[in-house]
Symmetry: D4
Subunit: 247 residues, 8 copies
């Protein structure tokens, strides 16, 4: 947006080349976006919270690389989710780290991470989603602790991480199959819990729908649920909650 | 079946009014059922295990009453499931007990109950199904212990019934909503577990489908699942497993 | 649990009627729950956060009334969800307020409410769920602002409540039908958003599943979703997040 | 159809080799199709609107090439949808253009395009469907404007294209994931809107069903929906609506 | 919105009590909506097309009556959809007509209706939806012709209404069960077709989902589909398309 | 249709008031239906097979009664399906028989029934559907034998009806719950089998979908399936197959 | 089964080495299958109708080849469905024909085919299923006529095959997408119709479920439906119906 | 856990450096897990029943090999399910057997197997699941008999295995497609039955859901169901039931 049009109108008014009424009319008839969008854009910066992130899936490798480099040049930071090894190879950014399990490419800044998010997952096949949540929240500025392999059938392991649980502001619980882990964690602690169903399992796991529905029906009040395999979203939300504590 | 036909053929053979070949032909051409059904019926008695039970739902009151009285007259025992108060009122059997929560009418014999089945349920609204399972297994001859209100969010209550768990041959776990309780119980004990999902819940509980699928996807190996709200079936199966121990 | 057993063992050790080894053995062989449950119960108090709440649906009126009165006697506070007018009538608690749209009966204390939760809903038929969320969070101690009738087709109304949005720590967005409102709100602000689908609508609204799935698939990162019509859960979680800010 | 049979009958009548009655009988007993099909065929030309289009999916390459060449020879125009690069390679038509994203091969005539259709899409992965709609409507004779990357989370971009919106007769809105864009567009304008859900997304996007159902449940009255990924159908319908304006 | 704030700023600038810069700052920091909403509201009038309509379902009778009377007072026009007889009784508007099959209450103006919309339905139970579409489009200002009872199994009836078909700008086809009628109509004519599935049927009609999916999968290109039983939406869209012809 | 128009044209041609060409043109430009529909109607009589049947569900009582009486007057025959007792009461036809289980009202002629259709059903709650199939086929002119209560768990009963099976031209098998009966019957005989799933059952019977899908997946080749509870359709099809034998 | 045991018993009775009673006892206590299975096997031959068919899908190539050769050796006839080219290559039977579209390998005898089955299909992608039905019915001994490419959008083509329709005993209608063709055919003729949905289509065709449900909900009474893509089953059933006519 | 902390406390008490009260306090405040986990671990050994099993699916080959070798070293026993040939190749354990159909790698001990489990399956494609169940139960110590190819359409084969059925303690029935076999087996015998649906089939077999739902709706009381293709779980549960008999 070019603010000079508004300034011109105001100057003309100031110089009395315009009456109040005609200035008002001119302002009112400005192309819609000239004023409102400026504000939106202003708010947009406030909204950012999740800046410089590229969702690679469904995009062509060359497009991802181009967008990613441009973002990196501006801010020296970058997060690419659902990235293929090929993207990493073609990206050729010295600082970039590639996490093949979760398909994440990240260039983080070195700022101190804040607060504490605990990420708990159940099975081996849930780790990519947990890693995506963890890298996302960390990239956004949150301190993250991850504990893998805490299943319902081994509840006692939850006891081992009691201190971690107590120290965290928000807990992300990731589970596939019957999706019972968030209920079990939620039965033990009084923190906000974000549940992420994964598509791990077969047959009636229905690609994660069973875990999703089980989590939505948790008998523990106050568990919110993300889309299947949506570690990125969980990381974003956990970060937004985590930073509430200190702000 | 009337066995006299076969006896006639055999007599004729014995009396040499028939050759072996023609007797064989006659037997072979008997209406199919004349021989085989006799055996099936014989086996049917062996199969009984679940005798004298009337499923009232979808039947007319007067039909249920008629069948029930006839069964009672023969054996002085009776179990009616999904029965309405109206049926109980019209049945007019002095010995019959009516359980309005589960809609069961029962006339049990006084034989000593065998073994031990433990029935564990989670919420208030699961009790009718638990009661149906319990009354069924008990009617069939099993000793049953029931513990209600043991939810995932209160796992410690499971600890209180450790002795009951250890004493039982098979455990029936009944739960609605996210259906996580069988996994939690199964993580603590090494007994055969029969899981029964209930239609308790709303929204994405999908009338019990969510609990059903969660149970089928339990990360604990060796949990079998019944149809939604099928306390009767769980009671039957638990009884069949329970009596294995002593036979 | 009766702690006297443990104290007896310790006394015997102190009096040297037991060796260290045998005392250790005795402790180790105590019924499992004797020690651990005490702790669980201790933690349970910490876990409470959502105390003195009765879920009335599927319970008998007389049972709800009995539990509710007992809770009220202990704490002079009470929240009953999904309550019928009949329950309210039989409850006969002078301080209790009945909200017939959401079916809530509440006796709140007069403590000052903390922080700020904003509850935004779309249509007339979403109001009962919004009210349930609002009354729950308020009962738990949060300050709540509610704005009804903010639909996607009238986005500009969101602009009118800009100040409320900015002042809140967490936003609960409630919508039926196509469930697009959380995405639109999430596109404008950078707060944690809890989305609650409602069963409002007909045909392919599928009793709220369409809104639920749409919310889970929001293109705005970081929106978490509750079960259909689960205003109570949203109120609990919003409260847990809201109080993070000040603690 | 060969009209000579009818003409023969009429001639015979005219020549009085037939009576009126027998001519009537003969006409009535003509093979059904002889008369009615002629008309159907006549109407069929009127019906064409969507001529010379080949749906390549599920057909063998050689068959597609053969049909396509035959169509091209007759009319020097051609549209192949869901075409593979292999088909394009084997087709060897100098004038043909291949659009690999949408899998379209087109030979258009040079006639001036009429009216205006606006095609709005949300994400990168919706572009193939948008392109299919655009190329189809353009091939049929409509003027098309396309604006990509207008998501719910960036509503202000809609403001930037206000003029395009005002100039169009009908708007095609293409979106995957939560499918909220048609509602948002429909909240701003008073034009016929055709919504096309795409299969973009993962987990509970259910291959586009979530976007489809969300669009069907739009709170904005008067949005019609096409099958998932059906850009071709949307292009056809938009064209039919667009040309109403000028006819 | 109160424009006086803007006018005050402009006046102060004109009176040189403000510099151009500070006036600009003040304008920029006005509550967001002060300027933009004015425009939105302006557009909103343009957007109306579907004014003065009340969706009664899920609202309380007294609320519907209150809103309806207020709308009527302003414009002497009114359309209430999904209305109960009770609403009609309490509304007490002399000019209002009640259509009990479709649950519509209408007060139309007497303006001449424009263009032509043809509404075709299949079975007796589809009539309420057809009537809703018809009354809606007519209320909005379109001329509507309705033909009921034109099923797939009686295709020849379509022939009887050939003239109506040819005279219409857009055709609304309403069908339940297998939802084949739109395909059959679409095979005969080259007009925009809006298909509305109804919930008529039983078993695998799945409450209208089968008809919906069948319509979405029509082999005839260019058929758009509304939500199940959504006669109102079809009427709105048909009107928007119909008036294109003459504008 | 009025044939006089065609006859007029032909007469004019015969009288040489028209040339062959202009007569041809006139015929060609006749409203489409004038010729073709006559034939369709002619074929329609051939198509009848299922005449004089009223589907009462979703129609108003008074409408059903009116249609039914009119049909009865013409042919002294009548079949109303899904009829309420109220319809029967208001119909007041001396010859009409009411079958309350299946909701059928029938006035049959006394013609001899042809061939043999065997109808086999499993449970008490399947009887209404079986009765609907039986009464329909009988009304249409087929001889029908019905055997109820032949479940999978009592296969031997099938043996008892071996003679009936052998004597029938086509077998209709009706079953709810797991829908296994058609497979079992199909494993024993080599007749065309029509399977009808019923909505009997609860939980995962999914209102008959489970039985439907099971039947469609029968491992016995050559079993065709009707809609859930569609006894009427099964009766029609069985009749059409049955009469093939003798024609 | 070895009949010698029965013959031994009968001989012993004949030789009076056994009394009638002990012979009867011996027979009754024979292993169940000794008698009944003989009959079953006898019936099994009657049941055959569909002999010498191998379903290749899910079996290993070498196993299919082995079974197929063994079947061929016995009867010089063979039908393999869902066969891969690899199976055909390894089978090396001089008389075998391979149909790659439907994946069928057939060795037919040269017997004259009986009656007439008409197979009608809609689109190019339905041809493999139509071919499977056709080859199956022909292999079993029925005369088959196939007409491809008869879609709903070109109903007039049905008129062209009026004679074929009239000459057939049963009609198999194969269609994907919206599955409307069976209704349209059923509206024109009074023959038994077997509808086969195909998995052709995309998006909400749901892999054929939409066509399946549409067919089950046909407003034409008496259409029976096969599993998706089940041309083999349709061929079997059509054959069983077709041969009724002549037997 | 390090027990030395508890021993230290007890020693201090014994040495009277602590009072009973302070020792009690110290014990109570020990990190939760110090005591309880010990017990859990103790119980965990009891819970084992299914030890030394690796679920390979979703794990990386090198991880599976590493875990498997470690398990093998400790116990000389091993079971890997859903293993690829590649895992077997890299594992290089002399004693290990690979079953490619079911993807199982097993190293069993030579202990005598106990009791009897009968595993019955229907079709060729169900064999991998049956093999998984069989190898699992056998690995755990149960004697297993397997009978393949016993379909509903060939019930008489069940008669051939009457003796096996009578000798078994529990029967595992594996079936895909319509899933009717468990009902048929359950109609003949009075043993606990575990039903396992398989994903064999196509179209409406819905990847095994149809068989699953059919099994859950069995009209035979007392059949429990496992997840689709879950042979491993069935083997575990069957073993737990089987060993009840002898213990």
């Amino acid at each position: 947006m070019d603010n000079s049009i508004i300034l011109d109108i105001l100057s003309s008014l100031h110089n009395r080349r315009l009456t109040v009424e005609s200035a008002y009319e001119k302002l009112k008839n400005l192309p819609y976006e000239d004023i409102s969008i400026a504000k939106v854009d202003h708010h947009r910066h406030m909204r950012q919270g999740v800046p410089e992130v590229v969702f690679a899936k469904g995009k062509k490798t060359k497009d991802v690389v181009k967008i990613a480099r441009s973002l990196y040049r501006k801010s020296k930071r970058l997060l690419i989710t659902k990235a293929s090894p090929e993207i990493y190879k073609k990206l050729k950014l010295k600082d970039a780290q590639f996490f093949p399990d979760s398909g994440i490419i990240a260039v983080s800044d070195k700022k101190r991470k804040k607060g504490c998010i605990l990420i708990v997952s159940a099975g081996t096949s849930d780790i990519p989603v947990a890693e995506e949540a963890s890298l996302t929240a960390s990239f956004l500025g949150s301190n993250v602790e991850s504990v893998y392999d805490v299943g319902v059938a081994g509840i006692h392991r939850l006891m081992d991480i009691r201190n971690l649980i107590d120290a965290s502001n928000v807990i992300v619980v990731i589970a596939g199959m019957e999706g019972a882990l968030p209920s079990v964690v939620g039965g033990l602690v009084d923190k906000p819990i974000i549940a992420v169903p994964t598509s791990a399992g077969y047959g009636t796991s229905l690609g994660g729908l069973t875990a999703l529905f089980a989590m939505l029906n948790s008998c523990v009040p106050g568990i919110a649920v993300m889309n299947i395999d949506n570690g990125f979203g969980a990381g974003c939300l956990a970060h937004k909650i985590n930073i509430l504590k200190k702000s």
